[in-house]
């Protein structure tokens, strides 16, 4: 049984009087512990698919199941709790909270758990250690480079050991060297820590790091 099962998903947006169809009858399986790259031109629906998987948006029809839980049927509060437990999300523009240190940013998802302060501290240090920023705990985002910021964002995404890690163009704003560091890190997370990763990217080189590459064009998936 696949970790992610997307069945007959249809998604459309209403813009003024115009209805924009993003997906019609989309079906996809993503296996546990896999690293999937999702490629496609702008407007092909990559980010929309990621949002649907994270429960940030709902399909017009069809079902999305992640680790046995039907995401599209959950109430907003159940969905928030489910996201906190099962989803790690990394944005293209990092989206760290500028008023919090790297440590505090990574600790955010753990504030939603019942972990003690000591346990949270331990986990945050481990996560920042995994991304190679164990010595930047008290740095604010403005004191970090773009690559470092993105690595803090990845630490934030994995700190609660989520079932599924989703990344939306994680190297889109990084220089070549920083992008390579992030991609290597993602590869390690998949191969060494067996994290299931779905990454949206434009970059063919980035996609090469994944174990599976899917192409999305006009709402239709192709291997």
């Amino acid at each position: 049984m696949a970790l992610v099962e997307i069945r007959n998903v249809h998604k459309s947006f209403q813009r003024d009087t115009q209805v924009i169809e993003v997906f019609e009858n989309l079906t996809l399986d993503v296996q546990d512990k896999s690293f999937t790259a999702l490629m496609g031109p702008s407007g092909s629906g990559k980010s929309t698919l990621l949002n649907l998987l994270a429960g940030l948006d709902r399909p017009t029809s069809g079902t999305i199941t992640v680790a046995g839980a039907q995401v599209n049927a959950m109430t907003p509060s159940a969905l928030a709790a489910w996201r906190a437990r099962h989803i790690g999300f990394v944005f293209q523009s990092y989206n760290l909270l500028p008023v919090l240190t790297a440590f505090q940013n990574v600790e955010l998802p753990l504030l939603l758990t019942r972990l003690s302060k000591k346990e949270r501290d331990e986990r945050v240090r481990i996560a920042l250690g995994v991304v190679g920023l164990g010595d930047r705990l008290e740095h604010y985002p403005r004191q970090l480079s773009g690559g470092q910021e993105q690595r803090v964002a990845i630490a934030r995404a994995i700190v609660s050991d989520p079932t599924l890690t989703l990344l939306d163009e994680p190297t889109g704003q990084l220089d070549k060297r920083s992008a390579e560091e992030v991609l290597t890190l993602l590869q390690r997370l998949n191969t060494e820590l067996h994290k299931t990763i779905i990454m949206v990217t434009h970059d063919a080189h980035a996609a090469e790091k994944a174990s599976q590459v899917l192409h999305l064009e006009k709402g239709v998936l192709a291997p």
């Binding site: 994270a54 907003p76 509060s77 709790a81 996201r83 523009s93 989206n95 008023v99 934030r156």
Partner: protein, 380 residues
Amino acid sequence: MNLLPLVLANLRRHRLRTLLTVLGVALATFLFASLRSVVTTLNAGSEVASASRMVVTHATALVFPLPMSYRERLKTVPGVEAVTWANWFGGQYGDGKLFFAQFAIDPESYLAMYPEISVPADQRAAFLAERSAALVGKGLMEKAGWHLGQNVTIRGTIFPGDWTFTIRAVYTPTVRALDDRSFMFQYAYLDERTEHRVTPGWYVLQLRDAGLAPTVAQTIDETFRNSSAPTKTGTEKAFNQGFVTMWGNVQFLMNSIGMAVVFAILMVTANAMMMTARERTGEVAVLKTIGFTDRTLFGLVMAEAGLVTLTGAVLGLGGAKLLYAGTAFNGFGMLPGFDVTAGTLAIGFGVALLLAVASGLVPALRAARLSIVQALRHVE
């Protein structure tokens, strides 16, 4: 879930804006406490009045005196146990900067009727024994730096000339709302110096029973209705309240100004909160993506608004309480016993709480209802 560090971090984001908002709320609550304390102090002044004391004044206005002959006639009214009288002197001490009320009183009957004016026995005897003696409140003694036995000269404005008194006694009020900055002297001295041309400004009656007040008032006013000096008889409380209403509708005025100030600050605080929330639209979306619920984010914004307004309220209300208590403020003698009461503090905190809810509600609801996808589209 301990989100206090996040709340504090958000407030530190724009330190100056947060500081100005807190100071705005502090100023508003300080003014609210000050204005309301004027009202409560004035009301406390009338509350201190004995229920079994009545005051008889001229029906037209307090400034018109009453004949001395009324004294004996008032004594005969059924229900009246004792009668005393007094006069407003209205003099000026020194350059006039130190203002205090001066009364000519009939010492024995007046002090007997006002047990709340506490005078040591030896000083009381000295005051009664000397015609030009003065009985001065403890607060005024301290303020003016006077001492027992000192001669004090007051320039009469209603009764011309320089009037020299010797301080023979100092009184201490046994109730807080009674003015401790008054200056009293013997009516006989005023009578003598004016060559018996003065008559009492008002009479005070001690009733056998407070329940007799309406009957006594009716009897007295009926008795003098067709005389050259018709009377207006009322309870001491009503008499004291009359002084308050001489200022106009103080309560309405003070409350109106207080509410206007609070409303103005509400606008400022709400604007600051809205601005802060708008700036953080993307961050709210990120927090939702992480798993923060709508309710948690609603609480987060409300907590920020609450912390700002309640910090301001603590500064404003606490500042008012400490400042007025520390300086023994009495409104230049017009507001004896001026105090920011526990009731005012409680209402002040209630107002601050309402301010927090009113200023935080809209941004908090916006944060809670924010669509993650739409908000992220702005950020990404």
